[in-house]
């Protein structure tokens, strides 16, 4: 009983500040205080004509897509490798792949900055994508790992015994089994990149992503526009998460259904 109360209080603490931002994004007056003076969509209306905001959003979408695709390719190969190597090699690879998670983003950001400075590379969209992959790839591999441990390697052996070539085994057995997991993990990589700020600051040069635009707004003034942008960003994150969940679960359910009906 006490436990349940504690859990609801803690969840309330997690949700309340976010809920308040959403609520005030519909506030008719610019005041961020009660009593509530009526609902309106005026802040959302003001966002539509905002050209720099649209530019930042487009930049973020491009960067997040590129990050997701690169993570998907590197992650797919990593997943196949994970299924094959000995436990010892696996441990070594995981240390290399997962360490960036255990370090503050600040560290990753400044070390990439000195790398680019030393190599004479101009900071650009490309350098942002490089930084985002360093942050997102560990998240992708970590999410995949739990699901891949359910993969049964004897399925591949069976296909090979039945005369399938290595390419056929990959196309007809391995890929369909791991694809939903991979795509769901890549969508998470997209979400990580879309929201990334800590590393981006150091590798962005003169580029502006959506979080950087929000940051510049936050520093200049307290404007209710930020509430509206925040709400949209939140809705977008929830949609991405929902898509990842849908892909991971629906594919599995349809696979189970197909197996039981045959």
């Amino acid at each position: 009983m006490i436990l349940r109360l504690a859990v609801w209080l803690i969840l309330g603490f997690l949700i309340a500040p976010i809920a308040i931002i959403v609520l005030f994004s519909f506030h008719a007056s610019p005041a961020l205080s009660f009593p509530f003076q009526g609902l309106s969509l005026r802040w959302y209306g003001e966002l539509i004509g905002n050209v720099p905001l649209r530019g930042a959003l487009m930049k973020s979408l491009v960067i997040a897509s590129a990050t997701a695709v690169i993570c998907l390719l590197l992650g797919a190969a990593a997943a196949l490798a994970w299924l094959r190597v000995s436990p010892r090699t696996r441990l070594g690879l995981e240390m290399l792949w997962l360490t960036p998670i255990a370090l503050p983003g600040l560290f990753v950001g400044v070390s990439l900055l000195v790398l680019f400075a030393q190599a004479g590379v101009q900071l650009s969209t490309v350098s942002i994508v490089i930084g985002h992959v360093v942050i997102a790839l560990p998240v992708l591999i970590l999410t995949m790992r739990a699901r891949l441990s359910l993969f049964d390697p004897s399925l591949e052996e069976a296909a090979r015994d039945l005369g399938a070539s290595q390419l056929q085994v990959f196309r007809k057995v391995t890929l369909p089994l791991i694809l939903p997991t991979l795509v769901a993990a890549a969508i998470l990589a997209f979400a990580v990149s879309f929201d990334e700020f800590i590393v981006t600051v150091f590798v962005a040069g003169t580029e502006t992503t959506l979080p950087m635009y929000i940051w510049s707004m936050m520093r200049r003034t307290v404007t209710p526009l930020i509430n509206a942008i925040s709400t949209l960003a939140l809705v977008f994150s929830i949609l991405i998460l929902w898509a990842a969940w849908l892909i991971a679960h629906l594919r599995r359910r349809s696979a189970i259904a197909a197996r039981t009906s045959s």
Partner: protein, 295 residues
């Protein structure tokens, strides 16, 4: 030619491994080399001196900011872990509620900046907390101290990192069989006793891992202190970030970053030693349970 599974695997691992070497290990090595170089009038000169480390370690500002970061880090990580445990316990043993899990995931994936902004809105002079206190007549003038203080930084960081901490504690608790807890309860142990005598020792390394990761992320966070810390809530993360964004003494910033990592390592060792001394941590690592090899 058909390669063995092991070598096919290693070949497949190569791209992702190469990526991490090129964009994580090599940059870290360059940063380490930088920390021994010197900065002279906006140019960075290759050198091999300990001056940056000595500068950082003898600077009162560095120590003031670092002790602040350690204090905020310890308090925040402890509070986050204490809040995470009941939720993780509930999710593991009481109800495997998917709804609660997705709620936690959604807060984890909701924008980092938005959550910092939300707390600034809540704690500000004209913010919600002050408005409510004024309307209830509990205070006559808005309390300025909510914002731009260690308290503001700590509560925001707890909010930001709690979802991740819950997920880590859930995975730490997952390995403990509920039968063990039931047995302890049947033998007359109270709920808190069951936690300290059964759950904590068995999940110790996972719980310490969750605490340390939260500490690392909190101590390295530079955005929250900048937004909400004022002058009393500055942290080492912000100091380091400013070396690379504003002042421009990169070698000094690099040295400060490695000192911070060394301090984190020392803290981890201290917690392990304290845990063993108090008996909360098993003295020796229990051998990993052998997984039945699959036929």
């Amino acid at each position: 030619v058909r390669l063995s599974n092991e070598w096919t695997g290693r070949l497949l691992a190569a791209p992702a491994a190469f990526y991490m070497v090129a964009f994580f290990l090599v940059p870290t090595a360059i940063l380490l080399v930088y920390s021994f170089w010197t900065a002279a009038s906006y140019r960075i000169v290759p050198d091999f001196v300990l001056a940056n480390y000595i500068d950082a370690l003898t600077s009162p500002l560095f120590w003031r900011v670092t002790s602040n970061a350690i204090l905020i880090g310890l308090v925040t990580a402890a509070a986050t872990l204490i809040l995470a445990i009941p939720v993780a316990y509930y999710l593991t043993y009481v109800s495997r509620s998917q709804a609660i899990l997705y709620l936690i995931l959604i807060t984890w994936f909701s924008s980092y900046l938005v959550r910092i902004y939300a707390w600034r809105t809540l704690l500000g002079t004209n913010g919600l907390l002050n408005t409510i206190l004024l309307q209830l007549g509990l205070v006559d003038v808005p309390v300025e101290a909510f914002l731009f203080s260690r308290f503001a930084v700590a509560i925001t960081l707890i909010h930001v990192y709690l979802p991740l901490c819950i997920l880590m504690v859930v995975s730490a608790l997952r390995d403990i069989k509920p039968e063990l807890i039931e047995a302890a309860r049947d033998l007359g142990t109270g709920p808190l006793g069951a936690f300290f005598r059964v759950i904590a020792p068995n999940a110790a390394s996972g719980l310490i891992g969750a605490f340390m990761l939260t500490f690392i992320l909190v101590a390295g966070d530079y955005v929250t202190p900048q937004m909400l810390g004022g002058s009393s809530g500055q942290t080492t993360g912000l100091l380091i970030a400013d070396q690379f964004r504003k002042t421009g003494n990169w070698p000094l910033g690099a040295a400060q970053a490695f000192i911070m990592i060394a301090i984190t390592g020392l803290l981890y060792a201290a917690i392990l030693i304290a845990g063993r001394a108090t008996g909360l941590l098993p003295r020796r690592r229990r051998p990993a349970p052998h997984k039945a090899s699959q036929p």
